[in-house]
């Protein structure tokens, strides 16, 4: 199924681009997500946990930045993952486009997603717009976290990002541990909880 989402970033497009393509720096803003391994400069392995009523799902998989066109401010990411307990799997092709927002100096990020869900989870929730609803919530919380982090960075308050400072190839990192350890100075929980 295909659907669209959008959010604003409080930076002009070229600078928003720098933030949004720094996957390791922003991954912790996605609620329930965990970046577990950096495969190469454009490929990542991770997990996303989702709770829907009585069901808790944990998808483990890979995400690859297939194209990254800085001049056009467009990026395409391909993701695939499967539930750890065999209840289904998902594939997604996600296109990001950055453009000046209505508010001067801000960027509007539009996201077009083409998601395929298979297995038992695909039938769960009677198929009523569940995926769009979950995607909308995740993106909303992600945007909120990202905005807060950008504003802190603009004020020069961002703490050193341990994980981004490390060499990226072949390194396995438990981001959750870092994230929890980083909650102190800002009092902010990047998971949005």
């Amino acid at each position: 199924m295909e659907f669209d989402n959008a959010f604003d970033v409080p930076l002009p497009p070229p600078r928003a681009w720098q933030w949004l393509t720094d996957i390791q720096r922003i991954a912790t803003c996605l609620p329930g997500a965990e970046l577990t391994e950096v495969l190469d400069e454009r490929s990542y392995r991770g997990r996303v946990a989702v709770r829907l009523g009585p069901v808790s799902l944990s998808f483990a998989g890979e995400a690859t930045l297939e194209s990254l066109d800085e001049s056009a401010l467009r990026a395409r990411m391909r993701c695939s993952g499967s539930d750890a307990k065999g209840r289904g799997s998902t594939r997604a092709l996600i296109d990001f486009t950055l453009a000046p927002a209505d508010t001067e100096g801000n960027t509007r990020v539009t996201i077009h997603s083409d998601v395929t869900l298979t297995g038992a989870v695909a039938q769960y929730g009677r198929g009523v717009g569940m995926i769009q609803s979950v995607a909308g919530q995740l993106i909303g919380q992600f945007a909120e976290c990202l905005r807060a982090r950008i504003e802190r960075a603009e004020r020069g308050e961002e703490v050193v990002d341990e994980q981004a400072a490390r060499p990226i190839s072949g390194l396995t990192m438990m981001v959750r541990a870092l994230r929890d350890g980083r909650r102190g100075p800002s009092g902010d929980d990047p998971a949005g909880r």
Partner: protein, 288 residues
């Protein structure tokens, strides 16, 4: 099918239940009261909780009483408890009307009011009641107790403000004014099936004019909500079919309906117009 193995933890007090939840929630420990949605999901092995914290033995959670102008509904109060008015006023009568639309009689003897709110299915009747009347939800955990307004409770399909270590211990509904009128209408393809659209309306009539109008719509968007565009068209107007039709049309225009393979957005929108018109008329006729 049968559920995957799990450990059952009967709790005899609220303190014990939240302590168990604090311990087991990180391992997908869940609270069970009626199990209306949890148990079928487990039987289908879509839900695979490792631990169930059973709150049915906690006497204080069976509480259902009126105090200080509101109805307090404990976590173990079943849908069936509302089939006969739980209080002599307009609210008790409304809840009895709504309860008759929830699934079937055997399910109503198990499923709970608070369980419906914690599950937050878009088609839940009690979620619509909570959103429209402005319920207060009491979430308890080992960390403490907090109250959440219904407006802040629903975050999307089957997603709420309730944290994984919190238990929804009680829901509080404000009583309706003695001269309030209330109407509810639900459309589903078969009796007891999930609502494709439903609405709940309340207003008072003062000197022939509608006041304090509330129009809530459920089963249409990811979560139930009030529709201010429709409420505005009622405020200060006479309770007449033409006015109801205008407000119903405004509600239909204001919603962003969910779609599925059998139900197009345009169809759900039409159902909203019909449902709101009928619940407004039902409220108009609700003169005791």
């Amino acid at each position: 099918m049968k559920p995957a193995p799990f450990q059952w933890h009967p709790a005899s007090s609220l303190d014990e239940a939240v302590a168990l939840l604090a311990r087991y929630a990180p391992e997908d420990g869940r609270v069970i009261a009626g199990g209306q949605s949890l148990v079928p999901s487990m039987a289908l092995r879509v839900a695979l909780p490792a631990h169930l914290i059973d709150i049915n033995g906690i006497a204080s959670l069976a509480r259902l009483e009126v105090e200080a102008g509101r109805l307090s509904i404990g976590a173990c109060v079943r849908h069936a408890a509302f089939e006969h008015p739980v209080e002599p006023g307009v609210l008790g009568r409304l809840l009895a009307t709504v309860a008759a639309n929830i699934a079937h009689a055997p399910i109503r003897t198990r499923g709970t009011f608070c369980g419906s709110l914690a599950n937050a299915d878009p088609a839940s009747e009690w979620c619509l009641v909570a959103a429209t009347l402005g319920a207060t939800l009491v979430a308890v955990s080992a960390r403490g107790t907090r109250e959440v307004a219904a407006a802040d409770w629903f975050h999307g399909i089957m997603t709420t403000a309730l944290a994984e270590d919190e238990l929804l211990a009680e829901a509080r509904l404000p009583l309706l004014a003695t001269d309030a009128r209330a109407g509810f209408h639900e459309f589903s393809r078969r009796a007891g099936d999930y609502a494709l659209a439903m609405s709940l309306c309340t207003f008072r009539v003062v000197e022939g004019r509608m006041r304090e109008a509330r129009v809530g719509v459920g089963g249409v968007e990811p979560q139930p909500r009030r529709i201010p565009e429709a409420e505005r068209l009622l405020e200060g107007e006479r309770p007449e079919p033409e006015t109801f039709a205008r407000a119903a049309r405004a509600a239909a225009d204001a919603v962003d309906p969910l779609e599925d393979i059998r139900t197009r957005a345009a169809y759900r929108r039409d159902l909203v117009a019909a449902s709101v018109r009928r619940s407004l008329q039902a409220a108009c006729d609700d003169t005791h």
